[in-house]
């Protein structure tokens, strides 16, 4: 039953991914991406990684997708159609897709046949994950965590510097 569900979700995700890249309407593409990200959250739930699934929904659906939609709403016309991408772009996209497929395929090969993932006990529960996040010792993520915050801060300051006019007046 769990397998059947996995394959159903996987098939739906493939279809939605195809919509994401093939739709000529930018808004449809964004909705397809939304579906794919939700599907990923369901896959995490199948692995019993409850927290990761919730964070996936919170960050990607509640955050990233809203910004993507903002960008779509501000730049595209209702019912507008994008031009077909140039052959050079298509070739580049195909190359990137092939590389990532090869990389992910190698990772997938590592699992033995009939092996089931279960992340409920080990690392993905709330408390152990939180403890590791704020641990500076071996196996802890405190330093990467802080570095990422620094990177985000730099990106924010950069964005503001680019966006405001040179005179330094109020926007």
């Amino acid at each position: 039953m769990r397998d059947a569900f996995f394959y159903a979700v996987g098939a739906a995700m493939l279809g939605l991914a195809a919509i994401t890249v093939l739709a000529r309407n930018l808004f449809r593409a964004a909705l397809g991406l939304l579906g794919v990200l939700l599907g990923t959250a369901v896959l995490f739930l199948l692995l019993k990684a409850e927290l990761v699934a919730l964070v996936q929904v919170m960050v990607y659906i509640g955050g990233i997708m809203i910004f993507v939609l903002y960008a779509v709403l501000l730049t595209s016309e209702l019912g507008g159609r994008m031009a077909r991408p140039s052959p050079a772009k298509l070739a580049l996209a195909a190359a990137v897709a092939a590389i990532s497929l090869g990389f992910l395929g190698r990772l997938a090969m590592r699992a033995g046949p009939g092996e089931r993932g279960d992340m409920s006990t080990a690392i993905a529960a709330l408390k152990p994950l939180g403890a590791r996040m704020l641990n500076s010792g071996p196996g802890g993520f405190l330093i990467p965590f802080e570095l990422i915050s620094l990177l985000l801060l730099a990106a924010m300051v950069g964005a503001i510097a680019v966006a405001r006019d040179g005179k330094g007046g109020s926007p």
Partner: protein
């Protein structure tokens, strides 16, 4: 701390009499049906309450004719809304236009699944309940953005852009206030947060964490008012400037979906406030044994609803007393006051928790 059982008799009965997978499915269906009933009844009752409260604030009587105290008025309203034609204006994006009204109501329905209505009345108690609440509430913003854009109308687009900005920014300070309680109680499960407040009423987090608790409660109420799109912070509708904002083009059942979601959200958010700050389903205890015994006789559900409806009354009081803010005032209120204040409050709370300066 007394142990409170989490299973209720209905669930136990099914588990005892059905094989395991069917019991789980049956219990799930019962839970969904119960939530659907709760959503409908709550929305209808809140519409009536809103009209009555509004009327009394404005020295009027409100609905009186349909049924006793006008109690049947919202049912008449609902029938009227359902009978109206569901118009699809020319030039709209059909997928976006009809998908959008479903998202906010889905979000508010999903939030209700983790709220502990009583000691044995909670659909599921997630370890990361607070994270879940934040995650699914994103669906509401999504619905508003998609609907405003799909309507092919400048006012709708402006309204949805505004409310996207508003909901997004106020969510920050709301989440920070919720995190404070997570920090204090050491758990993100809503049931365990309630259970960490057992004892007399000064063990509720609003008082238990000196100063920081009250401050977090006030910040939570203000930012959740904005999250709910309610006056005085209902800039996304703003009928005086935007003719209704994101739902300008919506009629009939599609409009009522947005409307329903707003009222259910108010209930969910007040329930969350009661759970986090006011002890949720725990009875009010005054620390004087004979009175406490009498108060504890009332079941947890009654206490939950009493606390939740007090907060709902507070929301209505805000709405009918304060004038509406302007959009730039609204955003500077969040970014220049509420967010720094909730960060400072978070720091204060962390200090209190670290040094155990919490009322035992």
């Amino acid at each position: 701390m007394t142990e409170i059982p989490a299973n209720n008799p209905v669930g136990d009965f099914l588990r005892a009499n059905l094989p395991a997978p069917w019991a789980a499915i049956g219990n799930g269906l019962i839970a969904v049906a119960a939530l659907a009933g709760l959503v409908t009844v709550t929305a209808i009752f809140l519409i009536w309450l809103e009209r009555k409260v509004c009327a009394h604030f404005q020295a009027r009587l409100g609905p009186t004719r349909v049924g006793p105290f006008g109690l049947l008025q919202p049912i008449a309203d609902a029938i009227k809304l359902l009978m109206k034609e569901n118009v699809k204006p020319r030039g709209v994006d059909a997928l976006a236009y009809f998908l959008a009204p479903l998202l906010p109501i889905t979000g508010s329905f999903l939030v209700l699944a983790v709220i502990p209505f009583g000691p044995t009345l909670q659909v599921v108690d997630l370890q990361a309940g607070v994270v879940y609440v934040v995650a699914v509430s994103g669906l509401g913003i999504l619905g508003i953005l998609i609907g405003g854009w799909g309507s092919n109308n400048k006012y709708s687009l402006l309204g949805s852009m505004r409310s996207g900005a508003q909901l997004f920014s106020y969510e920050l300070s709301m989440v920070l206030c919720m995190l404070l309680i997570v920090m204090g109680s050491g758990t993100a499960s809503l049931r365990e947060i309630v259970l960490s407040q057992q004892g007399p009423f000064w063990h509720w987090w609003i008082i238990k964490m000196p100063l920081a608790g009250v401050a977090a409660f006030v910040l939570f109420m203000v930012s959740s008012t904005a999250e709910l799109n309610r006056g005085p912070l209902d800039l996304s509708e703003a009928e005086s400037e935007l003719t209704g904002g994101f739902h300008t083009e919506y009629t009939g059942i599609s409009f009522s979906m947005f409307f329903l979601a707003e009222f259910v959200n108010m209930f969910a958010s007040a329930g969350l406030g009661a759970t986090l700050f006011l002890g949720g389903f725990l009875p009010v205890q005054l620390g004087y044994a004979p009175v406490d015994h009498a108060l504890a006789m009332l079941p947890g559900v009654c206490w939950f609803f009493a606390k939740t409806y007090s907060l709902i009354f507070l929301y209505m009081w805000f709405r009918w007393t304060f004038p509406r803010l302007r959009i730039d005032h609204l955003l500077s209120l969040e970014w220049k006051f509420l967010l720094p204040a909730s960060m400072a409050n978070m720091l204060l709370g962390a200090t209190l928790v670290a040094f155990r300066w919490i009322i035992p």
